[in-house]
Symmetry: C2
Subunit: 180 residues, 2 copies
């Protein structure tokens, strides 16, 4: 049995699509995730839009409305049968998100106990065997193995095992943690 | 440098006094912390009061109003100079408390970065050298050393190093972590 820590935004929750959709509506723009080319969303838009675009995340309904990443529920439900799964999200960066994030997790991942939710900032405090995250900076001081979940902003990041979808996550654990 | 994880309720925040005070007011009772004799507060009151007494914690203003435990600010400010201090609270047990706990920490411990706040449930996920907590159950699967912060409900718990106040916490780290 392994302990697997799983990030929320861009890993199980599609925050980027929601952000781009709200941005496009507010600015009558037509940005697509493929336009990011390895940049963070806020770096890919005109500087004068940045402040307003950033503030869009700082509302509680933003996190309530996010779509689940395809396959995340099915694969995590299976992983939970053999492993300890924790959801570890850098919620302290957006303090207004706590309640919405909690409710979202309860709604979409009812099979994960809230006792396994971790709202934190610096993820070096997480004690787990694996961390699936789209931000490689969290791997630097992480005690276990980092698994980089592919996202437009991390396309140019190298040096970590990369997964592109939840089917690939399932494959990693099927291979790596098979009983011998 | 060590990483020190510090619990909130009964360690840096005096939740018990507030709970007893609200209970006494609601039930015209006269309970004192010394009446607990090794029991949890909710076990020390008549069974028919339990449900209402328990619900008192599930309001956001409960956590906003808590007094700081004497000496916690001064000692933690000093410890922060040499060590990494994380605040690790089992906030998932009271999901309505997130915002109030965050604001309370910002107000009373402004010298600790929110990136070092951890709202969790099961604390075995915490990666630290020390955990200062009044609930010994969190020490069972903790990777580091547990330090039991004395509280009426844990008076009969043995097997852990016990501190009775923040001056004793300072002494533990002054002795243990002196440069050689």
């Amino acid at each position: 049995m392994a302990r697997i820590a799983v990030d929320m935004d861009e890993v199980i929750a599609d925050a980027l699509s929601e952000h781009i959709s709200r941005y496009n509506q507010a600015f009558s723009a037509n940005l697509a995730p493929s336009d990011l080319h390895g940049q963070h969303f806020l770096h890919a838009i005109p500087a004068e839009h940045k402040e307003r675009a950033e503030s869009m995340v700082h509302t509680s309904d933003f996190f309530a409305d996010l779509k689940v990443m395809p396959g995340a529920q099915e694969v995590l439900r299976n992983l939970c049968e053999q492993h300890e799964v924790f959801i570890t999200t850098a919620a302290m960066e957006v303090p207004h998100s706590f309640d919405a994030k909690y409710q979202w997790l309860r709604k979409h991942f009812p099979f994960i106990s809230p006792m396994n939710f971790v709202f934190c900032g610096d993820k070096s405090v997480i004690h787990a065997d694996y961390l699936i995250d789209d931000n490689a900076r969290h791997f630097t001081h992480f005690i276990g193995s980092g698994i980089l979940y592919d996202a437009p902003h991390n396309r140019n990041v190298t040096g970590f095992r990369r997964v592109h979808n939840w089917q690939e996550v399932a494959q990693v654990f099927a291979k790596e943690l098979q009983p011998v």
